[in-house]
């Protein structure tokens, strides 16, 4: 059975009130949802809360899920919206100019190279506007296609591409400033 069939079967069971089936969906999607939230918010605690909220919202609205779309697109759409709402609450939609200061608390000797790269990319991401962060996360963390990105964000594909191009350019500039090549 493909994972897709598994999802739909689990959804059917959920709609019949089967919570164990939903626990399996949570297991399947908690990691990508958490990554979306963390890469947009850069705060582990907030990302955890958002992930929890996304998954609960998914349960509550499962009856509205449109099977014309892939389930993961639907749940990522909820995740992006929740993360952006969390940013709005703390007025962090714009770039964090002070993001560089986050580096101060990091001890490079106690983190592995890959984790360090992740930290640096995260700091650079946080210097970008939220709209740029979102397209980077969707394209490079979740491997979404452009039409999936269009559906998830509600932004035309042409704009998505333009944003992605600019976002990559800005991200590279920030990383070069940090010495990442």
């Amino acid at each position: 059975m493909s994972e897709a069939a598994g999802d739909l079967e689990l959804i059917d069971r959920c709609l019949g009130g089967d919570r164990d089936a939903f626990a399996l969906l949570v297991e399947r999607y908690k990691k990508p949802v958490y990554n979306v939230a963390y890469r947009i918010l850069a705060d582990a605690e907030e990302a955890r809360d958002v992930t929890q909220a996304v998954l609960i919202k998914a349960w509550q609205n499962l009856g509205r899920y449109d099977r014309a779309f892939r389930f993961y697109s639907w749940i990522y759409k909820i995740a992006i919206n929740e993360a952006i709402n969390a940013l709005k609450k703390t007025r962090r939609l714009e770039s964090l100019e002070e993001a560089g200061a986050m580096a101060d608390g990091t001890d490079p000797e106690r983190v592995r190279a890959q984790a360090e790269l992740g930290d640096r990319v995260q700091r650079a991401l946080m210097t970008l506007k939220a709209e740029y962060r979102v397209v980077i996360v969707l394209k490079h963390m979740l491997d979404c296609t452009y039409d999936e990105m269009e559906w998830i964000t509600g932004v035309p594909e042409k704009t998505i591409k333009s944003r992605l191009f600019t976002a990559r350019r800005l991200l590279r500039e920030r990383l070069v400033q940090e010495g990442v090549r």
């Binding site: 790269l117 963390m141 333009s162």
Partner: protein, 254 residues
């Protein structure tokens, strides 16, 4: 420095691995004569490579338990009915029950009818399955995509790895119909299944070629099995109803 939008699009296609060989060649030629374009291309490639190496974080421990404990007690998922609400364009949304009924219709009535109609040059003798669309989810990796501009709306195609086979999925969000021809190296691939979402026109399979007609906003999948080495490119030819000029695209099997 701003880059011409056409070149910007070309760079995106190249970095995404979706550029056709002739587009890559054209971009190389432009980049060799324009330093700014060359640097932009290099920069976009570098950042895409860096992002590919960023580790995916594990969700915090105990999250599943917290979510399950937080679900409203004695509730079941709601949010209204099973029926979709809106979506992007009314024509794209598939009514679930309608789809289920269509699937049943295709499976029990149209399926045998379609199979019976599959003449000797069609899939029947080649063991091609004709059946309902298999939805895609993360376990079935999307390995490539193509967008072909047509009058009214573009046609979209995706290449999906599915077990030992490859699925070419085609969709166009428009009211008018779409004629599809998939061209492949017959020494490299064979058609193993045809899965329209609802009713599609008769599948015709020739030597290195499969074609059919589908209705507006319908999604259709053609499954190809690798049978040997050979040309990895799968060519696509789409024609919108009422249009004389077909659009073409390609997918490259890794």
């Amino acid at each position: 420095m701003p880059v011409d939008p056409t070149i910007e699009d070309l760079i995106l296609r190249e970095v995404d691995g979706r550029a056709f060989p002739e587009e890559s060649a054209r971009l190389r030629e432009i980049a060799s004569g324009d330093r700014a374009v060359g640097e932009e291309l290099q920069g976009q490639r570098e950042i895409a490579s860096i992002l590919a190496h960023v580790p995916r974080l594990d969700a915090p421990p105990g999250l599943t338990r917290k979510v399950m404990d937080a679900l409203p007690a004695a509730s079941t998922p709601s949010g209204g009915s099973f029926f979709p609400r809106g979506g992007r364009g009314g024509g794209r949304t598939i009514h679930f029950l309608y789809a289920a009924a269509a699937g049943l219709f295709v499976g029990t009535i149209m399926g045998p009818w379609l199979m019976a109609r599959l003449s000797p040059q069609t899939p029947a003798d080649q063991g091609v399955m004709v059946g309902g669309m298999t939805p895609r989810e993360p376990g079935r990796a999307v390995e490539g995509s193509a967008r072909v501009d047509l009058p009214g709306a573009p046609a979209m195609a995706r290449l999906i790895r599915d077990g030992n086979g490859w699925v070419v999925e085609v969709q166009r969000n428009a009211e008018d119909g779409l004629s599809v021809t998939v061209l492949f190296d017959p020494d490299a691939f064979t058609v193993s299944a045809f899965r329209p979402e609802g009713h599609a026109g008769r599948l015709q399979v020739g030597d290195g070629e499969a074609s059919w007609r589908q209705e507006g906003s319908q999604r259709t999948a053609l499954e190809l099995s690798r049978i040997g080495p050979g040309e990895s490119a799968i060519r696509l030819r789409f024609s919108a109803a009422g249009s004389e000029s077909p659009g073409e695209g390609a997918l490259l099997v890794p």
